[in-house]
């Protein structure tokens, strides 16, 4: 890893990170606060009035415990879709932007191997996501503790987050791959966005009713089984492992392709 480049990336991207962290904080605290029986009732009423929409967001049949409540309302869509937007923006900035505007020439005109430079960007991508993940876990843990001391089953909660990070890694790897193989930011961000929209849309449709239930096999989002992870099911762990593997394979492939390809600089 090239430390100078790594530091530079934090310096120029921290605002993006802070914005997404702030948005996620607001959502996380809002949902936790709603666990309060009084507020929860109003949420339940809302859910009853438009069941399809709540189902699409994975918020149908949200259970009674704080863990079920958080995992239903937060981990169904908010903590997958919003970070996905962050991932699209970040991946695009980390490689494709430099190639597109030509400044990659300066990053490569230094006595370092190309693989080292691109690996630095991979490490930045992963650590920045990891920082976001740790941050949001900390916010949820602390805020739940303050509001409803002792109600959250912490181990099960952490298991869900291991899965969530797998999901982020998977999306991160795929978007980073697109960013590394195209010459144009248009194509890089276009493919990343198309992939994310497709994956989330199919997941939402599959959750609406029994009719479309089977199309859940057509989206990688299904690999993230929130309830299964909470219960510690074997099959949920397999899904989780597959997400990490997909992520790693795409990151590694991106590095290999980038190191060997022609760059229009």
């Amino acid at each position: 890893m090239n430390l100078t480049l790594y530091k530079k990336e934090w310096k120029s991207n921290w605002i993006l990170w802070v914005i997404f962290a702030a948005v996620l904080t607001v959502y996380a605290c809002m949902i936790v606060a709603m666990f309060d029986p009084k507020m929860g009732d109003s949420l339940k009423m809302m859910a009853d009035s438009m069941p399809e929409i709540f189902a699409a967001f994975g918020m149908a049949d949200v259970g009674q415990t704080l863990l079920e409540f958080i995992s239903g309302y937060l981990y169904g869509i908010l903590l997958t879709a919003f970070p996905a937007v962050y991932i699209i923006l970040l991946s695009n900035k980390l490689v494709a932007r430099y190639i597109d505007n030509g400044s990659m020439a300066y990053l490569l005109a230094v006595p370092e191997k190309r693989t080292k430079m691109i690996r630095t960007q991979v490490i930045y991508s992963i650590t920045s996501l990891l920082a976001l993940q740790i941050y949001i876990v900390a916010v949820l843990l602390i805020y739940s503790q303050i509001m409803f001391s002792g109600e959250l089953e912490i181990t099960a909660f952490l298991r869900i987050n291991v899965g969530l990070f797998g999901l982020w890694m998977m999306i991160g790897g795929i978007c980073f791959f697109f960013s590394s193989v195209f010459n144009d930011t248009k194509w890089a961000s276009g493919c990343s966005t198309a992939f994310v929209v497709y994956a989330i849309l199919v997941q939402m449709i599959s959750q609406v009713g029994d009719k479309f239930e089977n199309i859940k096999y057509a989206t990688p989002m299904t690999l993230f089984q929130v309830d299964g992870l909470a219960a510690g099911d074997g099959s949920a762990w397999v899904g989780c492992l597959v997400m990490y593997l997909i992520g790693i394979v795409f990151y590694v492939t991106a590095v290999q392709v980038f190191a060997r390809r022609d760059l229009p600089l």
Binding site: G102, Y106, A109, R114, D262
Partner: protein, 333 residues
């Protein structure tokens, strides 16, 4: 050691289709030499340089610097190389000085005294945001980034683009200074004068193929200028015309050599007979003299004129271009 080839381009072809790219290109840059790389826009100069920097691989052939393959060993070569890209593209959000520091860090440099020296030499105030800088200022930052590590080899892609004439001269001085220090330099340009002032040899490329590699002296032979002499009276111009036409019959009949009168002005093409022309004109009262230097396209025309075995097709094409240049922007330099 003097004859060692530092940069070795060996029969490279990189075909982008539509006759774009480079085709079976070979030339060498010797140690301590300044080689000009001349060609019109789109001739393949940047494509060649990209291969030297290891950004792209040739379809066939090989490129090496200091005996190392440019793609595989790009990192080792970079230790001794300064590069100025043809397109200025920095990280816009940074300030100028911040960017220079960043590049220095990336190159593992500790000592920034050379960078400071260069900033003074080019009168650059690097404190502003790069986004807000003019093209010339950005070019200066690029130059500083290329030269500040004091590299043995320099590859410069159109180094003076965006610089005003004063700064272009400073740049020529910088090249001459670096040359004295024994640096090996490859610089591309589409302006002949810039190359003429600094380079020992030049490689000329057109449509992706090498036209010539030769010493500047040889290349300058047969180079012509267009002279516009305004005499005090029209009769002087007529008299001069008569004398000149008689003496230089063979010249005035050569292709590309003009000779004509417009009132008190005489417009003529001058080659190595410049001394005679000036002396002949000096017999009369002269009000003004303008000298138009050749554009690269005009230069090519003469160059092809000398090597008549070259394809006729190319020749007629360059005549077209020449007349365009004449009509459009045949300015005085």
């Amino acid at each position: 050691m003097k004859d060692m080839n530092v940069i070795n381009i060996n029969h490279i072809t990189k075909d982008y289709g539509n006759h774009r790219g480079v085709f079976d290109l070979s030339f060498q840059v010797k140690e301590g030499e300044v080689l000009g790389f001349l060609g019109p826009n789109g001739a393949g100069k940047t494509t060649t340089i990209r291969q030297l920097l290891g950004f792209i691989k040739p379809d066939s052939g090989s490129v090496s610097i200091l005996g190392k393959d440019c793609f595989q060993k790009a990192d080792e070569i970079q230790r001794k190389l300064g590069y100025l890209p043809g397109e200025i593209a920095f990280i816009d959000s940074m300030r100028g000085w911040e960017f220079i520091r960043f590049i220095a860090d990336m190159k593992g440099m500790k000592d920034l005294s050379r960078a400071k020296e260069l900033m003074e030499q080019f009168e650059l105030n690097p404190n502003g945001k790069i986004k807000k800088m003019s093209k010339g200022m950005k070019q200066k930052i690029g130059i500083i980034c290329a030269f500040m590590q004091n590299p043995k080899i320099l590859i410069l892609d159109e180094p003076t683009s965006g610089l005003d004439p004063l700064m272009q001269n400073r740049f020529v001085d910088l090249i001459l200074e670096e040359k004295k220090r024994g640096k090996t330099i490859l610089m591309s340009s589409h302006i002949f004068e810039e190359i003429e002032k600094t380079c020992d040899r030049a490689a000329i490329i057109r449509e992706g193929s090498l036209v010539a590699v030769d010493s500047m002296e040889k290349l300058c032979q047969g180079r012509t200028k267009k002279m516009e002499i305004a005499f005090a009276e029209e009769s002087m111009a007529t008299e001069f015309m008569r004398n000149y036409a008689a003496k230089h019959k063979q010249n005035s009949q050569k292709q590309g050599y003009d000779l004509g009168q417009q009132g008190n002005k005489v417009i003529l093409t001058v080659g190595n007979n410049i001394d005679q022309v000036v002396k002949a004109a000096a017999q009369f009262t002269i009000k003004d003299i303008n000298v138009h230097t050749q554009s690269l396209e005009e230069f090519f025309l003469h160059f092809y004129g000398k090597h008549e075995n070259l394809e006729r097709e190319k020749l007629s094409e360059s005549i077209d271009v020449e007349s365009d240049v004449q009509a459009g922007k045949g300015g005085v330099r």
